[in-house]
Symmetry: C3
């Protein structure tokens, strides 16, 4: 409404700008209800029901998905899961823009994948959104937080409770807040049998 | 009941002391129900209904408040919000003592504002509570935790997943666990047009 | 199903191996419902009802337990609480294997005790579980995360929002992510009266 003085935020002037939520209001409202009743609901153990509902609203989900109770998905039409993906209890996929998981990705309990940010230098607090990509075989461990625009690279690991602010390198393990690389992820099959 | 040996905590001897919860038991019990049914409930998208209920129980809330679903407020009679404040999905305002937000404050998704602490040197584990003040234009980003007694100063920012144990300085950005200052918050309007 | 290539995870080949969930499927399903309806439910303030239900499903709980609303317990038959234990609002005891609390233990709001892990070097992502023991007088503060296999030693403290990856020493305070020792916990009764 009013002009804000220089250097001061005025949230009443917030404008989502050219943000496209991906579906009309009616569909988003319907999903809001379905998400609360069937995904966030701790009483629904059925993985297959959740997969069907997500697909009905536009999600692309491969074979073998395991979706635990009390998960929270903002926009199924912005969700892509490869084959054999696991979403742990109370994981939150807050996809204002696309979240994409490759094959054999594990998103553990209590993880928060956050795609929403604001331009903090902007007095009108404009959106600054960032897609999240989690590549094949990667694992985001329990309680971790992944920030907007990050790529969790092939077979990399985000340790429990880590806050991941930058993209990872393949086959590396990241821990801490902010998360830093702490080691290689060496697979058992790396070890050639000794003759 | 029994005397605890030296250096040992005995939680059966806990005594809230002179803590004043601010309202009689009946009102607190009513709010407990209203909070669960209308604020914590993921099915209630209405910001204005939440504002009305909070005000009915004593909260002071300015114009333009945006209150998302699944928020959790302990004591509305200890809550003050200026104009244009945003409370994100699953934010938790655990105000055993007052929490005060200035104008144009954004408390993002999953933030936990914690006012409750205990005296760890006390064998009876007595309360050690601390009010939280978030000043104008400040932003507590998603998943952050703010500890008792902290002032989030004018236009400062607590980054995503940060654990803020101390008060901040104005127009600075804090990140990590424990959170430390990482940079200035420079606003676009800082840049004077070049002639 | 298919052989995974070397160095690649295939979650379709996951096998819980010799993991024993402790109760037959029917009992686990019943508990799933009871947990959602009476423990996770923010509308149930009754500590004693929760204690009775947990005991009915095999938990060992001493005197004086205080169990707040919205807590989440995976397997009551793997839960032992000494006397005067407190479990704060939204605490999550995710005990695929035993979680044991001593006497006078405080698990604060929003804490996550995580016993489940996977062998990241294993292409079939086998379980790697670890019991959690919290000894007498210890305090896990709000929002902290305790990882599998950890012992929170006698009267030690895990600070708010800390991520505890290793066992602690008695009467020490740990903070940060990963948590490190930051100080002694000196009790008031340490101070001998001056003659």
């Amino acid at each position: 409404m009013s002009d804000s003085p220089p250097n001061r935020v005025d949230l009443s002037r917030f404008d989502p700008g050219n943000y496209n939520p991906g579906r009309p209001f009616l569909i988003r409202s319907l999903w809001f209800l379905v998400n609360a009743l069937f995904l966030q609901n701790p009483l629904n153990p059925s993985s297959s029901l959740k997969v069907r509902l997500l697909r009905l609203f536009g999600a692309k989900i491969g074979r073998g998905a395991v979706l635990k109770p009390s998960i929270n998905v903002k926009s199924p039409w912005f969700l892509t899961l490869g084959d054999n993906c696991w979403i742990g209890e109370r994981a939150w996929l807050d996809n204002l823009v696309p979240i994409t998981l490759g094959n054999n990705v594990c998103i553990s309990q209590g993880v928060y994948l956050c795609t929403g940010n604001h331009d903090w230098s902007d007095p009108t607090f404009g959106y600054k959104l960032g897609e999240i990509l989690v590549e094949d075989g990667a694992w985001v461990c329990a309680g971790a937080l992944v920030l907007p625009g990050v790529v969790v690279a092939d077979h990399s690991i985000v340790a429990g409770g880590a806050v991941l602010t930058r993209s990872t390198l393949p086959y590396r393990v990241y821990a801490g807040n902010p998360a830093v690389e702490i080691r290689q992820r060496n697979m058992k099959s790396d070890a050639a049998p000794v003759a």
